[in-house]
Amino acid sequence: MDLLYKIFLDPFLQMGTAPDLLVQTLWEGLVAGVLYALIALGYVLIYKASGVFNFAQGIMVVFAALTLVGLHELGIPAFAALILALGVMLALAVAVERVMLRPLVNQPEIILFMATFGLTSFLIGFGEFVFGGEPKVMITDELYLPGGAINFQVLGGLVSLQKIDIAAAVIASLMVAGLAAFFQSTRIGRALRAVADSHKAALSVGISLEQIWIVVWFAAGLVALATGVMWGARSNVSFALEIVALKALPVLVLGGFTSVPGAIVGGVIIGVSEKLGEFYWGPLFGGGIESWLAYVIALVFLLFRPQGLFGEKIIERV
C-alpha cells in the first residue's frame, strides 16, 4: 500500500503543494526536449532524403562544436570561425558522399546504417586527434548569445529561466520553420522530397542524387553546428555529448523517423516526461532513472504505434 501510495499519489500531492517546482521542472524538461529535438532533426533530415539512418549525427554535433571552438582558439574571430566551421561541415558532407554513400548506392538500409557506425568511429578518432580529448568551453559571449537567468514569480515561488535556454528554443523554432520552408517551396527542396519518395524515379526525371545528398548532409551538418553551440553553451563541448545524442533516438521513435514536426513534439514529450519522472518518481528507484526512462517510454509507445506519432503508416508487401 505504501508503495502504491508513493507511486500514484505522493508525486501528485507534491506537484500540488509546490507548483513553482513543478513549473521549474516542466521548463527544464521543455528545454532538454528542444535540444533533443534539434539532434533528432538532423537524423530526420538525412533519413527523409536518403533513407540512411545516420548514426553519426551525435558525433557530428560534437565535431561541429569542436571545430568552431578550435578555430576560435587559433585566433580567428568568432563569426569567421562560425563560417569556417560551416565550410568544414560542407567539406564533410562532400567527403561522406564521395567516400561512403557513392560506393554503397543500392545497398540495403542496414548496410548504410552500419557504415555510419564506421563514420562515427572515424570522427571520434579524428576529432580527438585534431582537437584533443579535453572538454572545451563554448564561446557564448563572442557569439552574442545571452547568459544569465531571468527569475519569475510564479504561484508563490521563484522560477528561474536561463536566457541561453530561451535562445535555444527560439533558434530551434526558427530553424524548423526555415527548413520547412526550404523543403516546401524551393527547387532543391522539391527535388529532395522526390528523392525521398523514390531514388529511381528522381533519377529518371534528371535529379542529381549526388548533389541532393551533399545538400542534405550539409543541412544535417548545419543543424549539428547549431545543436553543438546550444548544448555547448549549457555544458562544455566534450565527447560525452555523443552519449547524450543517443537520447535523440527515443525521440525519433516517438515522433516517427520521417516527420519534422514529430521530432519536435517527440523531443518535448521525452524531455518533459524524463525530467518529471526523475524529479518525482526517481527517488523511489534510487535516482538516475533519467538514463533509461526515455527509452522505456519509447519502447512502450512503440508497442502501440510502431510507426511513431507522425510517421507514415508502414505498409509492407512481399
Binding site: S121, F122, I124, F126, E128, L299
Partner: protein, 358 residues
C-alpha cells in the same frame, strides 16, 4: 589441387550432413584444434595468452552470439554489452550462493539467466523491426547498466560497487581468481568456445537456423510459408543472449578478474557489433576473424611505432585506432559487404580450382 572434394563420395545421410563434409576441412580443423590446445599452451608466453588469445576468444563468443541474432535472424541489437553484463553478474551471484558448485556449470547457468532477460527484451521484436528495434534494445542496454550500479544486491553490497572474482578450483587446480594461471584460464575459455561454436554451427544448419534465415530475408514471406515469427524471433534473442551471457561471465571470471558496471557499457555493445560487421554478418568463422581484427589491430598499432623506431604518444595511437577502425568498416562495407568471411570463402574457392583460374 590440394583442397578439392573430388572423389570424396558420401554413402549415408549422416556423412552428407556432417559439419565438415570435406576431408581437407576435417584435417584442417583438427590441426587448428591441436595447435590451439597443445602447441599454444606449450610455446606462447603468458602475455600473449592473457592479453591476446583469451580476449579474442571471449569476444569471438560474444560476436557469435550477436551474429546469431543480427546476422542469422536479422534483428539488430545494441544491447550486447548489457547481456554480457547480465551473464557476468549472474555468475558472480551464483558463485556467492553456491560456493561449492562447479564454475563451468555456473557459467552455463548464468548464460541461461541472460537468455531469460534477452527473451524479455526481445518481446517487442514482434511489433517493431529494423531501426525501431535497435532503439528498443538500447532500452535494455541503459536499463540494465543502471541496474548494475543501482541494485547493490547484484554486487553483494560491496562499497566499491565492483565485483571481485573468487578463487574456484576444478580438480584441485585454481581456474578463476588471482591464483589461476593464464594457461589454465586459456584452456578453459578455449574448451567452452569450441563447444559452443560447435553447438551454434549445428544450430544454424538445422531447422531453427533455417527459420532464422527465412525471417531475416523477408519476414512476411517467412510467415506465409508457415514459420511462426514470434517463437522464431524469441528463440533467436534467447540463444543470442545465452552466448553473450556466457561470454560476459568468461570475460570477468577468466579474463578481467574483477569488473564494475562500466565494463558493460554501450561501447562494448558497439565493439561487438563492429566485430560482427567486419567479420561478416551471418558467418560463424567471420565472428572469429572480426574479433581477432578488432582486438588485434590496436595491439599491432601500439607495437608498430616501436618496430619502426618512431615514438607516438599513447593517446595518438588510440585516436588513430578509432580512425582506422572507422575507415576499415566503411572500406569493408564498400568493397565486401559480407565481410572477412566472404574473403575467406573466395580464398577457399580459389584454392579449390588452383592452379587453374576456373
Amino acid at each position: 589441387m590440394l583442397y578439392r572434394e573430388t572423389g570424396q563420395f558420401k554413402t549415408s545421410y549422416a556423412a552428407d550432413a556432417a559439419v565438415f563434409p570435406i576431408l581437407q576441412d576435417r584435417i584442417g580443423i583438427a590441426l587448428i584444434l591441436a595447435f590451439a590446445f597443445l602447441a599454444v599452451p606449450l610455446t606462447f608466453s603468458d602475455f600473449w595468452i592473457s592479453a591476446v588469445l583469451i580476449p579474442i576468444l571471449v569476444f569471438s563468443l560474444a560476436a557469435i552470439g550477436l551474429n546469431l541474432l543480427t546476422g542469422y535472424a536479422g534483428q539488430i541489437s545494441l544491447g550486447t554489452g548489457a547481456f554480457m553484463g547480465v551473464g557476468a553478474y549472474a555468475c558472480y551471484k551464483l558463485t556467492t550462493i553456491f560456493p561449492e558448485a562447479n564454475i563451468i556449470v555456473l557459467m552455463i547457468v548464468s548464460g541461461l539467466a541472460a537468455a531469460a532477460l534477452g527473451t524479455l527484451f526481445g518481446l517487442p521484436s514482434l511489433r517493431i523491426k529494423g531501426f525501431y528495434l535497435a532503439v528498443a534494445t538500447l532500452a535494455a542496454q541503459f536499463f540494465l547498466s543502471w541496474c548494475f550500479v543501482r541494485v547493490p544486491w547484484l554486487y553483494n553490497y560491496n562499497v566499491s560497487g565492483a565485483i571481485e572474482v573468487p578463487t574456484r578450483t576444478i580438480l584441485g587446480i585454481p581456474v578463476t581468481g588471482p591464483n589461476a594461471a593464464p594457461m589454465t584460464r586459456y584452456l578453459l575459455v578455449l574448451a567452452i568456445v569450441v563447444g559452443l561454436t560447435w553447438f551454434a554451427s549445428n544450430l544454424v544448419r538445422g531447422r531453427i537456423g533455417r527459420m532464422w534465415m527465412a525471417v531475416r530475408d523477408m519476414d512476411i514471406a517467412a510467415e506465409l510459408i508457415g514459420i511462426r515469427l514470434f517463437p522464431t524471433k524469441l528463440i533467436a534473442f534467447a540463444v543470442s543472449s545465452f552466448y553473450c551471457g556466457v561470454a560476459g561471465a568468461m570475460m570477468v571470471f577468466l579474463w578481467f578478474g574483477a569488473a564494475e558496471a562500466d565494463s558493460f557499457n554501450i561501447d562494448l555493445s558497439f565493439r561487438v557489433l563492429f566485430m560482427v560487421i567486419i567479420g561478416g554478418l551471418g558467418s560463424l568463422i567471420g565472428s572469429f576473424f572480426g574479433a581477432a581484427l578488432i582486438w588485434g589491430l590496436p595491439i599491432v598499432l601500439r607495437a608498430l611505432p616501436d618496430v619502426f623506431g618512431v615514438s607516438i604518444r599513447a593517446a595518438t595511437v588510440e585516436h588513430l585506432q578509432f580512425m582506422i577502425v572507422g575507415a576499415l568498416i566503411i572500406f569493408f562495407l564498400a568493397v565486401e559487404p559480407a565481410g572477412l568471411a566472404r574473403l575467406w570463402q573466395i580464398g577457399k574457392q580459389k584454392l579449390r580450382v588452383w592452379p587453374f583460374p576456373y
